[in-house]
Symmetry: C2
Subunit: 218 residues, 2 copies
């Protein structure tokens, strides 16, 4: 046999992408064989090479696409919020929602950096630090305006990224908490981390009574 009836380059390409994401997220890039990928797509291994020059380029493409989509989505969201506190909350909401919605993409981006070639790694790391830098900018602004109380910005930025990204490890859609409930919990945790003062508190010069979300664990 050769070309199959109803075969379509675009459909095959996206089928390859989808299958690759699933497989890489599940078993890892190194563990995924091209034959495994081909079978998942329902095609012979050789067909892959019409769409990508090699396995490495597939991984890079998946990660680059994800990072650019992530950055674009956040830039769109970033403009909406008014005030540092709300911008900070918006970042955390966005970050967690996005992570939950595109689990595989995010998981690959977090786990497969070491499988990238040196050149590709440099590109992805740059995109990643652009994204993380946008959180840092919010913390900077929060300090300048006096809304936040932060001892070490770089360290706190990393702490928040790690904390929120960690959701991806344990979150399941059928859990007791929905994605937005988790997000709201993390907004509160984040506000605590940055030492956010209540808006009235800043004006009055008073002090905060900690208020958390109403959801309690069992």
């Amino acid at each position: 046999m050769a070309r199959t009836t109803g075969s379509d380059g675009e459909k095959t390409r996206s089928a390859i992408d989808a299958a690759a994401k699933r497989l890489i997220a599940r078993i890892g890039y190194e563990a995924m064989s091209m034959r495994q990928l081909a079978e998942e797509v329902g095609v012979q291994p050789a067909a892959f090479y019409r769409y990508y020059p090699n396995k490495q380029e597939l991984l890079f493409s998946v990660m680059r696409d994800h990072m650019e989509r992530l950055l674009g989505a956040w830039q769109q969201e970033n403009g909406k919020a008014q005030g540092v506190r709300e911008r900070f909350a918006a970042f955390i909401r966005f970050h967690i929602q996005y992570h939950v919605e595109r689990r595989d993409d995010v998981h690959i981006a977090n786990m497969e950096l070491r499988s990238l070639s040196a050149d590709n790694l440099a590109i992805i790391v740059k995109l990643r630090s652009t994204y993380e830098g946008s959180l840092r900018d919010i913390l900077d602004e929060g300090i300048e305006t006096g809304a936040f109380d932060i001892a070490d910005i770089a360290l706190t930025t990393r702490a928040i990224i790690a904390m929120t990204t960690g959701v991806n490890v344990w979150f399941r859609a059928d859990d007791r908490l929905t994605a937005s409930e988790v997000a709201e919990n993390y907004v509160e945790l984040g506000l605590r981390l940055v030492g956010a003062k209540k808006i009235e508190t800043i004006a009055k010069g008073g002090c905060d009574v900690p208020v958390g979300p109403k959801i309690r664990s069992f």
Copy 2:
């Protein structure tokens, strides 16, 4: 050739362990070949099988040993601290110090779970949740005694674990912060996360003025 002069089973075993940890941490379990490992040790590939039945058992051994060492070390540390607040601080200090001291072990434990067989995974996951459970116990106690203010214990536990474990990703020994400086910063962040009240505050029924460590970022 056959047995080499000065060859010693114990030394070879620990050389294999050390090389394996380095390699797996650096390039990953799947990416590490037995020939690569053997060369790193300075031995022929076949020599490995005198010490481990197969590659999987090596990974499992590395991870089990690490988890048991971690648990043992924390149990030793756990008894010392007085009061919930100090116990909590001790956990964070311990966790970060241990992570910094045994980077490779921790990195492997975090990254290579998916490369374990089902049976081995179950054992490691159990050890892991025992460790994380000991943090949760501290949070529970903090809530009961009124020292902490936490909306969702399970979620906050995970947030703290993720935040502190994340140190391993970016910490370098030659960074601007020493391990214990980082640890102290994270103790403050942790206390914020759990809504810890100052000891005097609890008695007086007053409110907190956030106080962070003195180290500022540049």
